[in-house]
């Protein structure tokens, strides 16, 4: 810690806590990606890292730089908003592609197309 030598104690402790929590949550999400048994189960795990993990680490960074420069430094919000917007888009695209591939191969462990269509727009009777 050479450049952040002027950080007061409360800001240093809060930054340390936020960074530790974020890294631990990200690690848990990646362990889920490693350990879960099914692709559709594995999709859920890394979102821990992109929501709470990224949010916590970026909040710690924003706090650290705001206290260091004695003015609100909020450019970390740019990354947070971007990650929050893009993660659902990418995961929906990947899961749609995976579902399409599994259906064309006739895999037995996924819902069929007619069942999902009935869930989206149920019949009248």
């Amino acid at each position: 810690m050479n450049a952040a030598g002027t950080l007061p104690a409360w800001a240093a402790l809060m930054t340390a806590l936020l960074v530790l929590v974020g890294a631990a949550v990200t690690l848990i999400g990646s362990l889920g990606l490693l350990r879960l048994g099914n692709f559709y189960a594995r999709v859920h795990a890394p979102t821990l890292g992109t929501t709470l993990g990224a949010g916590s680490i970026l909040a710690g960074s924003a706090l650290c730089f705001s206290v260091l420069e004695a003015r609100p430094v909020v450019h970390e919000i740019l990354i947070a908003v971007f990650v929050t917007l893009t993660t659902p888009v990418t995961l929906m695209l990947v899961v749609r592609a995976a579902l399409y591939r599994d259906r064309t191969e006739g895999s037995p462990n996924i819902p069929a197309a007619w069942a999902v269509k009935d869930l989206i727009s149920p019949k009248e009777e």
């Binding site: 810690m1 050479n2 450049a3 952040a4 030598g5 950080l7 007061p8 104690a9 409360w10 240093a12 402790l13 930054t15 340390a16 806590l17 960074v19 530790l20 974020g22 890294a23 631990a24 990200t26 690690l27 999400g29 990646s30 362990l31 990606l33 490693l34 692709f39 594995r42 999709v43 890394p46 890292g49 992109t50 993990g53 990224a54 680490i57 970026l58 710690g60 960074s61 650290c64 730089f65 260091l68 450019h75 970390e76 740019l78 990354i79 971007f82 990650v83 893009t86 888009v89 990418t90 995961l91 695209l93 990947v94 899961v95 749609r96 592609a97 995976a98 399409y100 591939r101």
Partner: protein
Amino acid sequence: MNALVILGWAITSAQVMLGLAMCCATFRLVAGPRAQDRILGLDTLYVNAMLMLVTFGIRTGSTLYFEASLVIGLLGFVSTVALAKFLMRGEVIE
């Protein structure tokens, strides 16, 4: 115990945890049974690398790392979308 020393140790252990998370994602990228697992591993890998760069930025106190992590986020999003499109349609630009 000095609070800055605690912050240094916290950032070091956070970087170790993020490195382990990147190892998990890399294993899924290399060994994933199907192509969609590999794409998911790549997605997780770039998010973890982005967070790792943010922790480097806190350690050094410079905002250069922030810009690098923003670029990683942008390019990672584009690459994941392109790979998912390729998986769905067989080509990226139709």
